[in-house]
């Protein structure tokens, strides 16, 4: 069973509240006159590193759409295969990762896109995924690779193909950004 609460619209979404105080207003300057590495180049650097390792050693069933990344480093399209022996065997899904410049301190926005969205009790028909590591349990030590692995594992452990019980109402009322939903994580079985 899966339920969620919609946040009142006047409230600032949680993801924005928690990330507010971390950027200093003036970039600190080190002794040699160069700005310290607290600026935007750092998240790009990390994304580059992750991209390289994902291209070099992709986890099983995961391929990255390099063309999409070349156009825009902050939006990755990743193809993921349903594993053999699971309910999703033979199916192909596409994930969209959106990174903001607070990555890796802020989690990426991850949704299923394309025509084939897996029918799963934690995946809404608009592609939103109810997965705790995508919001409150996010940690900067996680990576695109580990998120892909979690989603693949979530799909693989599914026993029954069905939509979340509140799918219709959520899809009608939700924000475009799944991170603005206040998720309620309570089902660890799938």
């Amino acid at each position: 069973m899966l339920k969620l609460f919609k946040k009142p619209k006047d409230k600032i979404p949680k993801s924005e509240i928690i990330t507010e105080p971390k950027e200093p207003k003036t970039p600190p300057v080190s002794k040699c006159g160069k700005p310290l590495q607290l600026d935007n180049s750092r998240w790009e650097r990390r994304l580059h590193k992750e991209l390289m390792s994902l291209i070099k050693e992709p986890p099983p069933g995961v391929t990255i759409d390099t063309e999409s990344v070349q156009q825009n480093l902050s939006e990755w399209k990743i193809n993921i295969k349903g594993f053999e022996g699971t309910l999703y065997e033979g199916e192909d899904f596409q994930l969209l990762f959106k990174f903001n410049n607070k990555y890796p301190f802020d989690s990426p926005e991850v949704t299923f896109i394309g025509t084939n969205i897996p029918v799963h009790p934690h995946v809404y028909s608009n592609g939103h995924i109810c997965l705790s590591i995508l919001t409150e349990d996010w940690s900067p030590a996680l990576s695109v690779q580990s998120v892909c692995l979690s989603i693949a594992s979530m799909l693989s452990s599914c026993r029954e193909k069905k939509r979340p019980p509140d799918n219709t109402i959520y899809v009608k009322t939700c924000n475009k950004n799944p991170k603005k939903t206040k998720w309620w994580y309570h089902d660890d079985s799938v």
Binding site: T19, K22, K31, L36, D106, S139, A141
Partner: protein, 277 residues
């Protein structure tokens, strides 16, 4: 691991300041060749001039060569360290045509090597995936750059967890790592955010007296006196520290127990008398 080691030895004598070591060399050399040095001493003792002129002299006198070699190399290396940390490599090259070149090229190599091998380094920060700068390690053993970890702690001020293992982590609970030449590299105060300083706790004193039965938190007291004032004096123990409670099982403990019981009964009697009277 070879290259950084060489770099370390090169920058080793930085504890002696440049000025003092160069002046000591000066006095050494003066005793051997006074005429040659009288002119130079009168000149302003700029660090560059003294070192660049010391070097040829040391080599020209074989008897003094060992000592002066060591000293001159000391000075040149320590300058290199300082200048590099200030980021003024151009100054360095201009300032030391003879003395500084060797160490300069060495450290340049080191820098290049660092850039190249950073990808496959084991000592990567768990957040930025680069080689950890201003490294700190959590109590659970996970390595981070201090700026990275600091930013993460600011991101979730009420849930400070280790990104890797979700153990509790805080500014006071991380240990800064100092490499051999990291202390003079930069002033940590110039860094934003500052790295927490290392902590050194004194070892526990030899235990003379083991713990008490009730612990320190529990005490009862009764006083006899004028009614409202007695209450105040007995319930608010200002100033005077309480004597340590006796060990459980000792005769003193037994005595105290019986005494406290006695006073308890007495107090109950007094209070009930106050009510009924």
């Amino acid at each position: 691991m070879e290259e950084p080691k060489m770099g370390n030895t090169a920058e080793l004598p930085t504890t002696s300041t440049g000025a003092s070591s160069s002046s000591s060399t000066l006095t050494d050399n003066v005793s051997y060749d006074k005429i040659a040095w009288t002119r130079d001493i009168t000149e302003p003792l700029a660090e560059e001039s003294s070192t660049s002129q010391l070097r040829p002299l040391g080599t020209s006198i074989p008897t003094d060569s060992a000592a002066s070699e060591a000293n001159t190399s000391n000075t040149s290396y320590s300058f290199t360290g300082d200048y590099l940390s200030g980021g003024n490599k151009a100054d360095l090259k201009g300032g030391y045509p003879s003395a500084g070149t060797e160490s300069d090229s060495k450290s340049n190599e080191k820098d290049k090597e660092k850039e190249q091998t950073s990808d496959e380094s084991l000592y990567e920060c768990n957040i930025c995936l680069d080689t950890a700068k201003d490294a700190v390690v959590s109590m659970c053993g996970h390595l981070y750059c201090w700026p990275c970890l600091h930013q993460w702690l600011l991101t979730r001020p009420n849930r400070k967890l280790c990104p890797v293992c979700k153990a509790a982590v805080d500014k006071d609970k991380v240990i800064p790592l100092y490499g051999r030449n990291s202390t003079q590299k930069e002033d940590p105060r110039n860094k934003v955010p500052p790295r927490p300083s290392g902590q050194r706790t004194e070892p526990d004193p030899v235990p003379g007296f083991p713990g008490f039965g009730f612990g320190d938190g529990f005490h009862m007291s009764f006083g006899i006196g004028a009614f409202p004032f007695g209450f105040i004096t007995s319930s608010l123990n200002f100033g005077e520290p309480r004597p340590a409670a006796a060990n459980r099982g000792t005769t003193q403990y037994e005595d105290e127990q019986t005494l406290s019981k006695l006073f308890l009964y007495l107090a109950v009697v007094c209070i009930s008398w106050l009510f009924y009277a």
